[in-house]
Symmetry: D2
Subunit: 288 residues, 4 copies
Amino acid sequence: MESSSGLLLVEPTTWYFQSMFRIKKIYAYEKSKYQEIMLVDIEGFGKSLVIDNLIQSTEKDEYIYHESLVHPAMILHPEPKNILIIGGGEGATLREVLKHNTVKRAVMVDIDEVVVNFARKYLEYMHQGSFEDERAEIVIMDGYEYIRKAPSESYDVVILDLTDPYAGEIAKKLYSEEFYRETYRILRGDGVMVTQAGNSFFYNKTYKYVYENIEKVYPQIIEYWVWVPSFTYTCNFVLASKTYDPRKISIEEFDERLCERGVNTRFINGKRYYSLIYMGVIIGDLEK
Amino acid sequence: MESSSGLLLVEPTTWYFQSMFRIKKIYAYEKSKYQEIMLVDIEGFGKSLVIDNLIQSTEKDEYIYHESLVHPAMILHPEPKNILIIGGGEGATLREVLKHNTVKRAVMVDIDEVVVNFARKYLEYMHQGSFEDERAEIVIMDGYEYIRKAPSESYDVVILDLTDPYAGEIAKKLYSEEFYRETYRILRGDGVMVTQAGNSFFYNKTYKYVYENIEKVYPQIIEYWVWVPSFTYTCNFVLASKTYDPRKISIEEFDERLCERGVNTRFINGKRYYSLIYMGVIIGDLEK
Amino acid sequence: MESSSGLLLVEPTTWYFQSMFRIKKIYAYEKSKYQEIMLVDIEGFGKSLVIDNLIQSTEKDEYIYHESLVHPAMILHPEPKNILIIGGGEGATLREVLKHNTVKRAVMVDIDEVVVNFARKYLEYMHQGSFEDERAEIVIMDGYEYIRKAPSESYDVVILDLTDPYAGEIAKKLYSEEFYRETYRILRGDGVMVTQAGNSFFYNKTYKYVYENIEKVYPQIIEYWVWVPSFTYTCNFVLASKTYDPRKISIEEFDERLCERGVNTRFINGKRYYSLIYMGVIIGDLEK
Amino acid sequence: MESSSGLLLVEPTTWYFQSMFRIKKIYAYEKSKYQEIMLVDIEGFGKSLVIDNLIQSTEKDEYIYHESLVHPAMILHPEPKNILIIGGGEGATLREVLKHNTVKRAVMVDIDEVVVNFARKYLEYMHQGSFEDERAEIVIMDGYEYIRKAPSESYDVVILDLTDPYAGEIAKKLYSEEFYRETYRILRGDGVMVTQAGNSFFYNKTYKYVYENIEKVYPQIIEYWVWVPSFTYTCNFVLASKTYDPRKISIEEFDERLCERGVNTRFINGKRYYSLIYMGVIIGDLEK
């Protein structure tokens, strides 16, 4: 047995177990007033964005996360024109949104200018030019503030691409009932919202807090999770809407809408959407 | 930040990243001529069986693995009476099989008597008395040999609960075309076979080898995977049969058969079976 | 680069860095009301005693620690007859003491009967039959209590083979001024005392507390440290005496006394004793 | 127990155990054609130079290594004027050499310009302006080549501040008999040479190879080791000379020479020099 030495990134999957990734190369390292941002080559996973020592996305599997976050929400809406993304500084969520040719305007709000500039400079493989798309608008601002000040009924889809809800007090605010009420307010009458929500097996209490807050605000709600290899666990998502029932769109409709809008995907399609909603999620009992 | 010291179990998720689990207590430790067997308390996951330093199953999540292995195969068969399990020394696969009241005889073949005795002594929470069930027959023998010598057309369902196909040359034999031909031979005319098959994202080449070997032998074949938290990845399964098409059993039929046979489950049901087959699997490109 | 998986023992060298040892085999595991005791094979270091996940001694390097603890104190005394050892359950300190043919009686006091029985059963390579020596007397008792009740002026040498002073409140008592006063009381007029004292580079504050407590009680005092490979750091010792000046014994005298008393050593001798006292120790500034 | 996550530097103390350091901050990262160079903040040890993932020196303890390397050799020589340093890119060896006011010229040869420029830019706390000292001459060249081409009898002291002898084939050349013959050739009639030599407990075979090569070439030779906390082990040194016997310089002479030459030290002095040569080294038996 050879020794395993060098630079390791130890990810706190939960408080009781960790995963160790090998860093082959550091491409770039910057520090903003909010966080530390690195672009590294992770053994097996390729170029990866790491913020505050947490893997955000890797070349090999980011499509699984970003397609699962964006397309179910976008497809549930029959004609999504105005889209709001909170977070998602690397530009991959924006990239997926812009694939839908129905989109007229996609506003991406990230609190950290350094992250966005870092993405422009280094993460071409992620954003693929989305920042330069004329439909895109990048705003550097606190997401909560942006939404609080946004006019009512101004968006068709709101996509919350945030840090995990158990990442601290600031994160928690973006999963609160008040916040969801604000998202509801700025959505049009048939608006759709989706958020990533951490993992419900390991963080059951926090997850329930998130789910129940959304349930108090939105009449339509569905939950699903998907395994993201570099996260070593499944990532939960909660999809909510003012009118459309996520169970009512058929496999065929899902695929048709993708096709009509010119959206190519590697992971998601009608069958997999049904897989996700049929699986549901498992709520663990491990959180203290 | 506190230091994380003590006894760690480092699991080689793949050759390029590992997961670290904390061992809170060693309950039992034995060494057979084949392997080292431990019963330990793993932080978060509870009592866990560890063989050759690899987690086999934990109190918290073994039901996900064992239900996903056993019930799709058992339900696909309209009346499974004679069942053969290769491996599965801890008795949990046997426990799930015996839940089906159609079963007249369940033969479990494990190469290592020490594992089976260890299970009898320490893993009551796993086998739940299955070893004492009068329909159960425990055979200590090499699984390959057992199948080679078994009479033709003697089983309804064969369940292969084996170590991963990339675990070495001996393991590989149990995933070979010849071996699958033998399983085919001993199955009745409408027999069903299922095997766990490692992970197809990280071990794509090995997985393809397994899948294609089964495909050469069986006319009906389907693949699925399921996330097992303590494995930190999804576990792939391949389900094959001589006649029944796994896509033809409906959600309702799946649930009805579970109900008629008196099978209670925590994870699997008709919807989740469809989730699994709709999801399919992702074949990675990471194996050298 | 191969993956490094399996059972690791992570040692908290300090709160800010750790060392990882590979456990090749668990020979024995027992739990007493005080602690967990393991005999394991550590890659490179051989059979090793591990208590509460901390390496106590390994086959490859225990002689460095035990010879450095015992012989400077024993040699400083011109004719050590009655010896008291507190701690040292594995029997190796006793083994070194009994090498001196001046010894009439060596009392070893350990709080944990399970450790002593474990040592008798499994650690022959450590104690080498010392427990059966007719001069040896094993007492199961709290060391503090034993010393408090022992008659005054009854020992020539007291050897404190204890857990580290930063190991918790109970340990700290055995490094207190009151405790050293008690050791002083039970020593004859020319008695000698030695204690291990953790590491003064990483735990400077705790070490100073220990050193200063001894200095308040004993007129003669000297400090030294020695590198123990499996500890990954130097282990500090404090040697004190009622009359003899540790700087006054010459290299030649040291070697002569070892020789006259029939003591064979692998590590310590007159020159190395001088090396240790000339080096002194480095007091770090890292402890919070 | 809190989780320990983030960026870890895992150091291969030997092939059978590792040490894990926590990286708090990456100050700078560069890649040359030879190696990767990082300036990081290591928990507990402060600003640290790391080359190819191996800790070279840390703020907290670099003085122990650099003083132990430089001063015994410099003091052994009665009037060291011309000094050659091979390696030592961070400038700390040069800094120690220049403390001796006898020095007229100190040539430092490092193969990697990137390291030297990196040091100039970021490691002021290490070199303390030595690169700008008018007696210093920095040469970017392969050390072996430089020595092969240097005129005979041109130096008083040669200091080899190299990577470990077990670091690969290229390193090994700089510990070969032929290389030592070249160092002998370029030294004046009373010249002195010193090299660091890895660790003799863990790498006994490699160490013996180094020691015996030097012994074949130099009439006077002595070995010593010193514990460097961030290395987690003792670092061996071999000091050799054409005429002066390292055992003949007294404690008082050592201290006088330091004083006369205006050399202030934190670690080394006459007594500690004697400590080092009295201790000698322990040759392990662990290398395969």
